[in-house]
Symmetry: C2
Subunit: 304 residues, 2 copies
């Protein structure tokens, strides 16, 4: 009997209707993914890993890109409407928005960010530690004057990288540090260096950029605009570990985030929350690995 039904189903090209199923089981097997802007070069890689990771767990990915922050609220409404099982957010959410998730009991995991004043599920990297590590190596190499090109105002990760770097520089007794604001894009890396050169009235010894793409812009501005040799006259470092940093023109010295492992962690954390509602928020912190490229002179710190 079972066989007859199965065969008939196949013959008729029958496919179960996932929506009807989820109506009764109250599980859609869909997860929402919120990403601010895919042009960021770091996000496509993250998205790709998230997608594959979800796929391995039999979960479909409903993608929402957020070119403007004001779009968030209507996107959040759509998440409710489609009854996603959970959400991974690689975008900025306000405290109030996070509260909505809690009220609806929709699991939420932040990717590569977290909220300061509210405990949330998050997968991230130890940005301060990474910054401290690279600073130690830069100082050990004898650099004295430091420029820092920050991320945009609202980037928590960027802020941590910058704060971590400044803290370590202060610890090591370096006081010649100037910071300029950047926007995570190539051009702001280039203009950031120009601005630093103006305020320093000359070139700094090293520039720490809050992400890789700005570091690449900084290197190019140094070489093409200012005729400075990198790394012999200027050391430049970044954060992320994106592919273009490894290109021959750059050989960027950077701190690579373990994107795949982070994606896998975010997905399993989310699915655990789905299985076990009311689970207390957890934060999983990964460690970035130093990629010793050719864009910075590094030394071995005597005090590790």
């Amino acid at each position: 009997m079972r066989d007859r039904v199965t065969r008939a189903a196949k013959d008729l090209g029958y496919t179960p209707n996932a929506m009807a199923r989820s109506l009764i089981t109250r599980r859609s097997h869909m997860a929402g993914v919120l990403i601010s802007n895919l042009t960021n070069l770091y996000y496509p890689e993250a998205l790709s890993e998230l997608s594959q990771s979800f796929s391995r767990h039999g979960v479909r990915l409903l993608l929402f890109t957020l070119p403007h922050e004001r779009d968030v609220d209507q996107v959040v409404d759509q998440l409710w409407e489609y009854r996603v099982d959970g959400v991974i957010a690689a975008a900025r959410l306000s405290n109030a928005q996070v509260a909505l998730f809690e009220r609806r009991h929709i699991p939420l995991v932040f990717f590569n960010r977290y909220l300061k004043d509210r405990p949330v599920n998050a997968v991230c990297c130890d940005q301060r530690g990474a910054a401290a590590l690279i600073v130690s190596r830069l100082v050990a190499a004898g650099h004295r004057r430091y420029g820092i090109i920050c991320g945009p105002n609202d980037s928590v990760v960027g802020e941590e990288r910058v704060q971590g770097a400044i803290a370590r520089l202060t610890e090591l007794g370096v006081s010649t540090v100037k910071t300029v604001r950047g926007g995570y894009d190539y051009e702001s890396g280039a203009s950031g260096l120009h601005e630093l050169v103006r305020t320093f009235k000359g070139a700094p010894d090293a520039v720490i950029c809050a992400n890789d793409v700005m570091a690449l812009g900084c290197i190019d501005a140094a070489r093409e605009d200012l005729k400075l040799s990198v790394p012999s006259q200027l050391s430049v470092v970044g954060f992320d570990g994106v592919a273009p940093g490894r290109w021959r023109s750059y050989g960027l010295t950077t701190l690579r985030q373990p994107v795949r492992r982070m994606a896998e962690a975010a997905v399993s954390m989310l699915l655990e929350c789905v299985e076990e509602p009311g689970r207390p928020p957890e934060r999983r912190v990964f460690t970035a690995t130093l990629v010793e490229g050719r864009s910075a002179r590094l030394g071995e710190p005597s005090i590790p």
Copy 2:
């Protein structure tokens, strides 16, 4: 009365259930997007535009990335299960797979590709025309020996770019042309140039790469490995118009695809198919624009 209900709904935090709705309306307002690999640098931009375009039309995007071709079949099953209203495919689909869409009356639009032996909805770029244009300009500048770094075997677009280039070269009486296979990635651009130099027993005058990332690899290999000056000793051109090509280190001469307009076209074509089933397949062909960078010497062809 209406007001009372509306207010009560708001107070209780009521949100309509999109799945229940689509169960009866037979419209999920979800579209599937199939993308082969997001690491391709061109796809994130396309995906971003598709996402925003869908969003403007009130359609949710179910994302499927396909690291391996063998994954396609199970992905297709999931598309049926979730009753997507339509599918945009920026990935390779077999003829048999396309037939399945037809049988189920699920609208399908190809993005930046199409099938040769079956009429399908597709949004693409005139690759042959673009290739012919750049070849004319290269020949007019006096280049005689041409290297071509192709895309992977299964890329229809890559094949068209190469065929278009070869056809125009032949037309213009250039016979010194050698092709090597590439994989659309940076390294294959670099190794492609090395291979060309070996077969030419010296450097060609110009290298035409089937996409931008390979062109960047080619430029870097020329400068860093072979100490060839680009463009004075070697002209290099690519296709796509990705962001890194505009970086100071490269200033890539390339043929930019109008990604935003293509995405908008694909989305509206798909939604039209949803509205009007049985609509005959259409192909919308856009024109690439020449970006005159600093990676190639171009001349003005006397016969346009």
